[in-house]
Each structure stands twice: as structure tokens, then as C-alpha cells.
């Protein structure tokens, strides 16, 4: 894999810097703030990976150490402080953040300290552009929204939706994804009846809901997070609930709604979620780590990010952030295919080049440090408010 220059700090000069021998994995994931609901599965993914790595003998002869940190949200502004804490705790890799917006506030700080920032959930397209277009010390296992946007629009076309309304959260995530869905749809011949954005802090969604309900669309794509729980009843009230107007969810709101909508409110809703089919096995293992876990969004990606970091450290025979960064792309592309950490270690010890494909699907990190291909699952809700996979689509970004 190519090393590449970094914008600010040129870590490769110090690349010789030897790690301290222990691979320390910081976790910068949401515990508080408006994204706190995304935190548990992600923490569980990382912790499960660390547990399995250590059971398989650790990295470079030592157990991997975990340091948790709180990402908060972009309103609370604590991410930089927490990142400092993680760096000071000698993290070599920081798994995080959940939100692309928060990542922007810490990425420079983390990279300049020679630490890898490895996200399992950033989907913003901006990390493949501009100064982040080189795989310096930033990586992610989650595919950029381009792919999901394409899958979503294909799904809509497959269902013969010709006049689609988009109801999206107004932030980095919602805007990009909405944009992607819209261009793909319009390019492929379908119409977009309306694209309506709501502010995440909005106290009322009536205007947007009315707009969607009155747009004459034959389907609505709801791009958002938790607010979906408030949007659905309002859509229902406006006569545009899922039973009247076919509704589609995305990764941000594809969650278990048995508690909220257990009476068939979201029956038939379809949704997309990056990641290959997570085997029941994986879910069961996550449950062991966190018995209270309900959702699984991005747990697999975070798991893979952790495993890849560990494998890269072994491949580099060095646990420092810069050393790991040089090997990350390498261990995910080209070489002997491995599916688990244990397999990977064996192959590396045998001196082979490996290609890790993890629980989140075929992982191929590209030149920008982001996946070049990924699979995306299509799910559908039953009348109890739970969702199940329909199929998985793999594609290139």
C-alpha cells in the first residue's frame, strides 16, 4: 500500500517511532448527546473484537488494551477533550467517531499526534475529498453514502416508484444521502416529488410532514436518526403513514421499533443498511459483551476496524499509530483471504500477504482509506416493528 503524504504533520518522518509494545485501542464513540443511541452497538463491536483478539493471543505478544471515551455530539463540543484523554492514554488507534461531523472536529488533532483515527460509521463523502483523500492516518470501514444512495434508488426503481418524496435530516449525513438518492433517481428516470429537510433540533415537523403528505408522491424515503420515531406517527396522522404511502428507511433509522411501533405501524417498510449479513452468530456474541444490546448498526464495521488495526500492527511488527497506518490498506487487499483475526495472525506469521474480509462484508480499503466496495443489506419490517433482511447487494463505490 502506498504511504502518502499528510497535510499537516508528516508522520512518516517519525515512522520509525517504535510503539510501546502494547496496542492500545481508544474508543471515541457516543455515550451522551443526541447520538448516544448509536453508542452501544459500536462499543460492543469494538469490545467483542478486543476480547477475541486477546483470546487468540493478543497483538505482538501482549493483550490489547481498551480505553473508552465519549464523543458527545457536535453541540456539546467535548470530543476534542476526550480525544486528548485517549491520546494521553497512549492510544495507538482510536476507533471512532460515529458522526462524521464530530470526526471533523478531532481528525486533525488525532492525526497530528500520530494516532490512527479509524471509524466504523462515518459515511460522509467528504472524507474522500480534499485533504483527506490520502490514506494518512484516517480510515473507515463504513462505505461512503454514495453506495447506499445508489442502492436506495435502485430499490425504489425496483419497486417501480416513479415519484418519490425524500424527508431528510438537515445535517452532513442527511444532506449527502438525500443528494445521492435524488441524483441517482433522477438520473435513472424517476421523479423526485419533493425533498424536504428538517432540522435535527426541530420542535415540530408539521410543515415538512404536510409537505410530504401533500406532494402526491408514491413513496417516501425517510433519512434520519432517532427522530423517525416522531416522524412516523405524524406521517400516519397526516394520512401518509407506511400503510398508505410506501416508506423507506436508511441506516440511520433502521432500528428495532418493537417498543414504539409494535402494532403494525411500520409494517412493510423497507430499508437499507451497509454491511453484509451479520450472522446470528455474531449477534449472539455481541449480546455476550453487552447483554442489553438491541440494535446492531455499525457494530460489525467497528469490530472489523479493530481487527484490521490489530492485524496491521502485527504485519508492521510495531504497534505505533504510524506503523499501523502503513499496513491498514495492505491487510485488507490482495493476498490470502482471511475471515477472522486468528486466521489472519496465522497467515501473517507464515509470512503471507493477507486480505481480511470481516463480518461487515468484503473489505477493500482504497486509496482514500475508505472502502471501495461493500455490501448493503435490504431489510423489511414485520408488523411487530422488527426488521429482517430481504437480500444483500454488493457494489463498488
Amino acid at each position: 500500500a502506498c504511504g502518502g503524504e499528510t497535510a499537516s504533520d508528516k508522520p512518516e518522518k517519525k515512522a520509525a517511532a517504535k510503539g510501546d509494545g502494547t496496542l492500545t485501542v481508544g474508543q471515541l464513540l457516543p455515550q451522551t448527546g443526541s447520538l448516544a443511541f448509536l453508542g452501544p452497538p459500536e462499543f460492543a463491536g469494538v469490545n467483542l473484537a478486543i476480547k477475541e483478539i486477546n483470546e487468540a493471543g493478543g497483538v505482538l505478544g501482549k493483550d490489547v488494551k481498551a480505553v473508552p471515551g465519549d464523543e458527545g455530539d457536535s453541540n456539546s463540543g467535548i470530543a476534542p477533550a476526550e480525544a486528548d484523554k485517549l491520546i494521553a492514554a497512549k492510544s495507538d488507534v482510536i476507533i471512532g467517531t460515529a458522526s462524521s461531523g464530530v470526526a471533523q472536529t478531532v481528525v486533525d488533532k488525532v492525526m497530528s499526534s500520530g494516532t490512527v483515527l479509524f471509524s466504523g460509521a462515518n459515511t460522509s463523502t467528504s472524507f474522500d475529498e480534499g485533504k483527506y483523500s490520502k490514506p494518512d492516518l484516517y480510515f473507515r470501514t463504513s462505505p461512503s453514502d454514495i453506495l447506499q444512495g445508489a442502492v436506495m434508488s435502485n430499490l425504489l426503481l425496483e419497486d417501480k416508484r416513479t415519484n418519490v418524496a425524500i424527508l431528510a435530516r438537515q445535517d452532513a449525513y442527511g444532506e449527502t444521502l438525500a443528494e445521492q438518492v435524488k441524483t441517482n433517481l433522477e438520473g435513472a428516470g424517476s421523479k423526485v416529488a419533493t425533498t424536504s429537510f428538517y432540522s435535527q433540533d426541530a420542535t415540530s415537523f408539521d410543515a415538512q410532514v404536510n409537505e410530504v403528505a401533500g406532494s402526491g408522491a408514491d413513496a417516501v424515503v425517510v433519512i434520519g436518526f432517532e427522530e423517525t420515531k416522531k416522524l412516523i406517527p405524524q406521517l400516519i396522522a397526516a394520512g401518509a403513514g407506511p400503510s398508505k404511502l410506501p416508506t423507506y428507511f436508511v441506516d440511520g433509522n433502521l432500528a428495532d421499533y418493537t417498543k414504539e411501533f409494535g402494532k403494525g405501524e411500520v409494517k412493510g417498510v423497507k430499508g437499507t443498511l451497509p454491511g453484509a449479513e451479520s450472522s446470528g452468530d455474531f449477534k449472539a456474541k455481541l449480546k455476550e459483551v453487552d447483554p442489553k444490546l438491541k440494535d446492531h448498526a455499525y457494530s460489525a464495521e467497528c469490530y472489523d476496524a479493530t481487527v484490521i488495526s490489530a492485524l496491521a500492527a502485527i504485519a508492521a511488527k510495531n504497534d505505533s499509530g504510524e506503523a499501523i497506518a502503513e499496513k491498514v490498506v495492505d491487510v485488507t487487499t490482495g493476498g490470502k483471504k482471511v475471515k477472522t483475526f486468528a486466521e489472519g495472525v496465522k497467515a501473517l506469521e507464515a509470512g503471507e500477504d493477507i486480505d481480511y474480509d470481516g463480518v461487515s462484508g468484503p473489505i477493500e480499503l482504497g486509496e482514500t482509506g475508505s472502502p471501495t466496495a461493500a455490501s448493503i443489506g435490504i431489510y423489511q419490517y414485520d408488523d411487530k416493528g422488527a426488521y429482517a433482511p430481504v437480500k444483500y447487494i454488493a457494489g463498488q463505490i
Binding site: K160, N163, A202, A207, D357, P362, A394
Partner: protein, 447 residues
């Protein structure tokens, strides 16, 4: 480069395997097993022309041309299902052109459908789709008048809930002069308490009236909360002679404290009541042309009656006058024989109860119970009471009506929808420029 492409293909095939194994929903696709090769699938259906079962009729025999970077890359003709699958060699951007001459007679492309579609081919198999809408009677876009009614309805419901919260704020402000930045959390408190008791009641014999009962309990607790707050925190602060600004900062501290205490115990996820989330709006003649869900009717009635009753009572009753007197000059009020502390305590109790009620109704309206809800609405509440004239009870009502309506109507008159909260804030600023003391506020005389 080569190596990577190879990996991708392998991966795609892997994924395809999954696809083939478990695809209950993809019935259409499996009928004619598609070739393994990457392909663009175009479907042509005439939506205007439906068969007996109401399914649109496929349009067969239409020729479709596929080009990449201007070069021919394939061609296909729709089969009797109206589907054409055109195999392409590599991933990338393709343009599909429909040959309009081959359309069966009587079938024409919709007015604003182009005969070209751009397809990003990213997926293995016939998963890269394009469509040419035919005969689509795009559902009518609702009329301006209808939208207006809808948004006025939304505005009124919102305004009334806002009015309750504003009244709670005004009561406390009007007696103590305190701008309570923890007021949002008192709204949250009402909703969270109602939810908690709803969870308790919903399984028992009271399930049928669970939410109503829980709401009543929440309101009582809200009043109690006001009482406790005043006794434990504000009362002692007053006796120490703490200034208003210092108290305001205390309230900011209190808001952090409460917000995170709520989150500590209730987590940050959004919750909903066990009942009434499925109601659909209906119009009746007695709703005056508005379409209303039953829960909205309840919200309107409960809040309007409460607000009016409280406002009238405050402007007529002795206690109401006493509150204003205390706000003007507590020392003089004491000298007139008023028990200042108990007047303030009653303001907190009534204010707390009203605010909790607003929280309960707000949660009912927006199906939202969440530890941040109060914080989010606080600014709007502040805007409403300020606009009406700080400390005036009727002002709180009028301010809320203006703010609520502008909030929901703004997008119809040019406020960008995604930032519709800008509308009421701007209106407030504009009105305050004309009337610096608020709509009902009064200027003090000078000298």
C-alpha cells in the same frame, strides 16, 4: 489495480450467492434467472393502462440503446413483461436511450420524461436499474388552500402547547423576575413522568386510560416539583439576597443538572406513549374545515381551557395581583402584609404544573418523549413570552399564538423549510423593534 478489480468481482459474486439463497422479496427477479453478468435492467410499464387486478400493463417491444462515454455499449428490447436486460462489460456510468419510435402506438412518454436515463452501474447482476415513466398520473400536489389549513392547524396546536409552557415561565418570571433557563427541563419533566407512569399503568387494569392517568399524575408531580424547587433552591437563594443574574446562571446550572439526570435514568432515546400514536386526521364539519386527529382535539381543548382559565383567574384574583405586586417590589409587598414567600411558592407550584401539562401535551402532539425535548423548545417558548411582553400573562398567550402560527406557516411564505425556526425568531425581532416592550408590555415612565 487489476488485482483490486479482481477482488471486487470475487466479492460481488460472494454477495450474489447470498442474494440467491435468501430472497423472498425479489420474486420478480427470480422468475427469469438473470445472467450472472452485470446488466442494466429497464422496466417499462404504462401506469395509465391497468389490467383487471390493477397492475399496470407492461410495454413490450421497445428498443433501448446503451452508451458509455458516447460509445455504443449494448442494446436491448423489452420483453412481454416490459423488461429489458442489457448486459454491460464493466462498471461505470452509462446512458440509456429509449427509441421513441418503437413505442407501441397510443403509448407516449410522459410530458417531462426524457428519453434518456443515466445509470451508475455499481452492482453485479441486473441490479442497475432505469425507468421511463409512462402514464404516471403523479398524485395531485395539494392545493395552496389545503396546505394553508393544514399548517394553520399545526400552528394552532403548537401555539397552544407553547402557550401553556409560556404561561408557566411567565408566572415565575412575573413574580420573581427570574429568567429560568431550566424551564425547558421542567417541560421534559412532565413528559418523562407521564411516560414513566404510562409504562406502569399500561399493563394493569388501567390500560384503557393509561396515558390520561399518567398525564394527570405528571401534572401533579410537576406542581410538586415546582414546590420542591422553590423550597430547596430558589427560596434559600432569595433569602441570601442573590441577584437575578446570579440566579439566572444558577438556572443554567440547574438545566444541565436536570437534563443529564433525566438522561442518566431514562437514557437519551426517544420514547412514545403506549396509546394514541396511530390516529389519523379526519375532517368533520364541526372542526371548521380542519382535519384533526382526536388527540389534537384533546390538546386544543385542554390547553385552551386551561390557558384561558388561568389567565382570567390571574388577572382577576387576589393572588394574581399579589404576584404582580411581589414582582414589582418584594420588600414593599411584605410591608403591605403579603407573605412574599408563599406567593412565590404558589407561582412555582402553578407554574410547575402548567409546564408539566405542556410537556405531557407536547409529547402527545409530537409523539416525542426525550430528554432533550425541553431544551429544544425553550428558545421558542422564550421567543413567545418575550414577544407577548415579558411577565404579562395574556402576552404569553398572544406571543405563543403568533410564534406558533409563524413557525408553521413560514415555509409557505418563503422561509426555507429546513430552517423554519428562523421564521418566528425573525418575526419576534421585527416586532420588538416596533414595540420594544413586547406586544402587551408597558413602558415605564421616566423621571
Amino acid at each position: 489495480m487489476r488485482k483490486r478489480l479482481y477482488r471486487v468481482l470475487v466479492a460481488l459474486i460472494g454477495a450474489l450467492m447470498v442474494l440467491l439463497v435468501g430472497t423472498p422479496g425479489a420474486a420478480q427477479a427470480t422468475e427469469t434467472p438473470p445472467p450472472d453478468a452485470t446488466a442494466i435492467q429497464v422496466t417499462l410499464q404504462d401506469q395509465a393502462n391497468k389490467d383487471a387486478e390493477g397492475n399496470p400493463k407492461p410495454v413490450p417491444g421497445v428498443t433501448l440503446q446503451v452508451t458509455k462515454d458516447g460509445k455504443e455499449a449494448g442494446e436491448g428490447v423489452t420483453d412481454d413483461k416490459g423488461v429489458a436486460t442489457i448486459v454491460v462489460e464493466e462498471l461505470g456510468e452509462y446512458v440509456v436511450t429509449l427509441d421513441e419510435k418503437t413505442l407501441p402506438s397510443g403509448t407516449v412518454l410522459d410530458e417531462n420524461t426524457k428519453d434518456e436515463a443515466t445509470v451508475q452501474v455499481r452492482f453485479q447482476g441486473p441490479n442497475n436499474r432505469a425507468i421511463f415513466p409512462i402514464g404516471v398520473t403523479a398524485g395531485e400536489h395539494s392545493s395552496f388552500g389545503k396546505d394553508l389549513m393544514q399548517n394553520i392547524r399545526a400552528g394552532i396546536v403548537f401555539a397552544l402547547v407553547l402557550g401553556l409552557a409560556g404561561l408557566g415561565f411567565t408566572l415565575v418570571f412575573g413574580t420573581t423576575g427570574l429568567s429560568n433557563f431550566a424551564h425547558g427541563e421542567l417541560i421534559t419533566f412532565g413528559a418523562v413522568m407521564a411516560w414513566t407512569f404510562d409504562q406502569i399503568f399500561k399493563t394493569g387494569g388501567l390500560a384503557a386510560v393509561s396515558v390520561i392517568l399518567a398525564g394527570v399524575v405528571a401534572v401533579i408531580l410537576g406542581g410538586l416539583g415546582g414546590y420542591v424547587q422553590d423550597k430547596v433552591l430558589w427560596g434559600p437563594l432569595r433569602r441570601r439576597g442573590t441577584g437575578l443574574i446570579a440566579m439566572m446562571i444558577v438556572s443554567i446550572g440547574l438545566s444541565f443538572f436536570l437534563r443529564y439526570v433525566f438522561q442518566y435514568f431514562f437514557s437519551s432515546s426517544t420514547k412514545a406513549y403506549s396509546q394514541y400514536t396511530q390516529q389519523v386526521r379526519e375532517s368533520h364539519w364541526y372542526y371548521l374545515g380542519f382535519a384533526l386527529a382526536s388527540r389534537e382535539v384533546v390538546i386544543i381543548l385542554v390547553s385552551a381551557v386551561t390557558i384561558l382559565a388561568v389567565c382570567v383567574w390571574l388577572s382577576k384574583s387576589r393572588l394574581g395581583k399579589a404576584m404582580r405586586a411581589v414582582s414589582d417590589n418584594p420588600a414593599l409587598a411584605a410591608s403591605s402584609g403579603l407573605r412574599v414567600d408563599s406567593v412565590i411558592t404558589s407561582a412555582w407550584v402553578i407554574g410547575g404544573a402548567l409546564t408539566a401539562l405542556s410537556g405531557v401535551l407536547y409529547a402527545l402532539r409530537a409523539s416525542e418523549i426525550n430528554t432533550f425535548m425541553g431544551m429544544r423548545i425553550l428558545l421558542v417558548v422564550l421567543a413567545a413570552v418575550t414577544l407577548g411582553g415579558l411577565g404579562t400573562v395574556w402576552g404569553a398567550l398572544i406571543g405563543s399564538l403568533v410564534i406558533g402560527l409563524v413557525y408553521e406557516l413560514g415555509p409557505m411564505f418563503g422561509v426555507p423549510e429546513s430552517i423554519k425556526e428562523v421564521g418566528p425568531l425573525l418575526i419576534m425581532i421585527v416586532i420588538l423593534l416596533v414595540r420594544p416592550q413586547g406586544i402587551l408590555g408597558r413602558k415605564e415612565r421616566l423621571g
